[in-house]
């Protein structure tokens, strides 16, 4: 349990910097991709900002538990294990969620695709960290 929490915390800190840093740079250099967020579909009063910034830790702790439970099934060097873990998570969890999101929300293919690749990148980074910290 301690191993899960520590590796989840480490992955969370790294994901926090990479995810929000990446988002900041994306908004700065590709602003056109973010115009669609000016929509009441997305929370605008700041009341959920803390939840938004906690996301990196929520996904990291969840992936840390998932990794600890199934790491024995993923063989090979750490980099390959991390990559495979990221892809497995993306296919099992992200793809169906993105599918239902696109089918039910007024969002574009570009937005939902960007969410998929954002989640995939997060899962691969978390997988690489977890494969190193909790082999």
């Amino acid at each position: 349990m301690k191993k899960i929490l520590i590796s989840g915390l480490i992955a969370g800190c790294i994901l926090f910097v990479v995810s929000y840093g990446g988002l900041f740079l994306g908004i700065r250099f590709f602003p056109g991709l973010f115009v669609e967020y000016n929509n009441p579909l997305f929370n605008s009063d700041g009341s959920r900002d803390i939840l938004f910034y906690m996301h990196a830790f929520i996904i990291s702790f969840a992936l840390s538990w998932f990794w600890d439970r199934f790491k024995g099934l993923i063989k090979g060097p750490a980099i390959m294990r991390g990559l495979e873990f990221g892809f497995v998570y993306s296919i099992i969890a992200l793809l169906p969620v993105m599918w239902i999101s696109f089918s039910s929300l007024d969002i574009t293919v570009l937005t939902v695709t960007s969410w998929f690749f954002y989640g995939l990148a997060q899962a691969i980074i978390a997988g690489l960290v977890l494969a190193k910290v909790n082999p």
């Binding site: 908004i27 602003p31 973010f34 000016n38 929509n39 009441p40 910034y53």
Partner: protein, 205 residues
């Protein structure tokens, strides 16, 4: 019977001409009445840190008049009248932006934006050459009213149409509104908005 017919004719005459006889203010200074045409428009321009937006009410859907005259001491030009614009008429050329503006302006609680005209700094000459004038208006958004000085350009074309162009920068915060921010504040709408309106009017002779 003849008496009744004469009375009816007179009543009809007075009620009909009452609309077109020159209107007088309380101290005898003639007032000018301008009827606002339906092709009048208003636009609100703003920006976020990812884009600029321009939201338009392309056509004024009511019949209203503006009255131009002088105050009792004959020192101030009074422009009176109110235009009411439905927030639901805004079109930002992007459905998400349109919905966002309507929500930000609190359409559900306050479905109407009002501009009440108060004064002009001078009596307009009304020629084909644009004349720069300033004046005061009261703008009511989301139930909050504020007085603003507005820069106008006024012209009258050969068809005797009067064009009044007004522009003014306002802030969301002037009306106790909070500009929207998204993704934990990474996408922010700037507080400042530029309001431009064009009133096309006909003078009531």
């Amino acid at each position: 019977m003849n008496y009744k017919n004469t009375m009816c004719t007179l009543l009809l005459f007075f009620s009909a001409t009452g609309f077109i006889l020159p209107v007088q203010s309380g101290n005898g200074i003639p007032l000018k009445k301008w009827i606002i045409s339906k092709n009048s428009s208003l636009s609100v321009n703003g920006s976020t840190n990812v884009n600029k937006f321009s939201c338009v009410i392309p056509a004024y859907d009511q019949i209203d008049t503006l009255t131009l005259g002088k105050n009792k001491t004959n020192t101030e030009v009074v422009l009176s009248g109110t235009i009411e614009l439905r927030i639901s008429s805004f079109d930002c050329h992007n459905s998400g932006m349109t919905k966002q503006l309507r929500k930000t302006l609190d359409e559900k609680q306050h479905p109407v934006l009002r501009i009440r005209f108060l004064s002009l700094d001078k009596m307009p000459v009304l020629t084909t050459q644009p004349e720069a004038i300033t004046g005061f208006v009261e703008i009511e958004i989301a139930g909050v009213s504020k007085h603003f000085e507005v820069n106008y350009q006024i012209t009258k074309n050969d068809q005797k149409d009067i064009h009044l162009l007004g522009s003014r920068d306002i802030n969301f915060s002037d009306f106790n509104l909070v500009p929207p921010k998204k993704l934990g504040g990474m996408i922010k709408t700037k507080d400042q908005l530029s309001v431009d309106f064009q009133l096309n009017m006909k003078a009531m002779d």
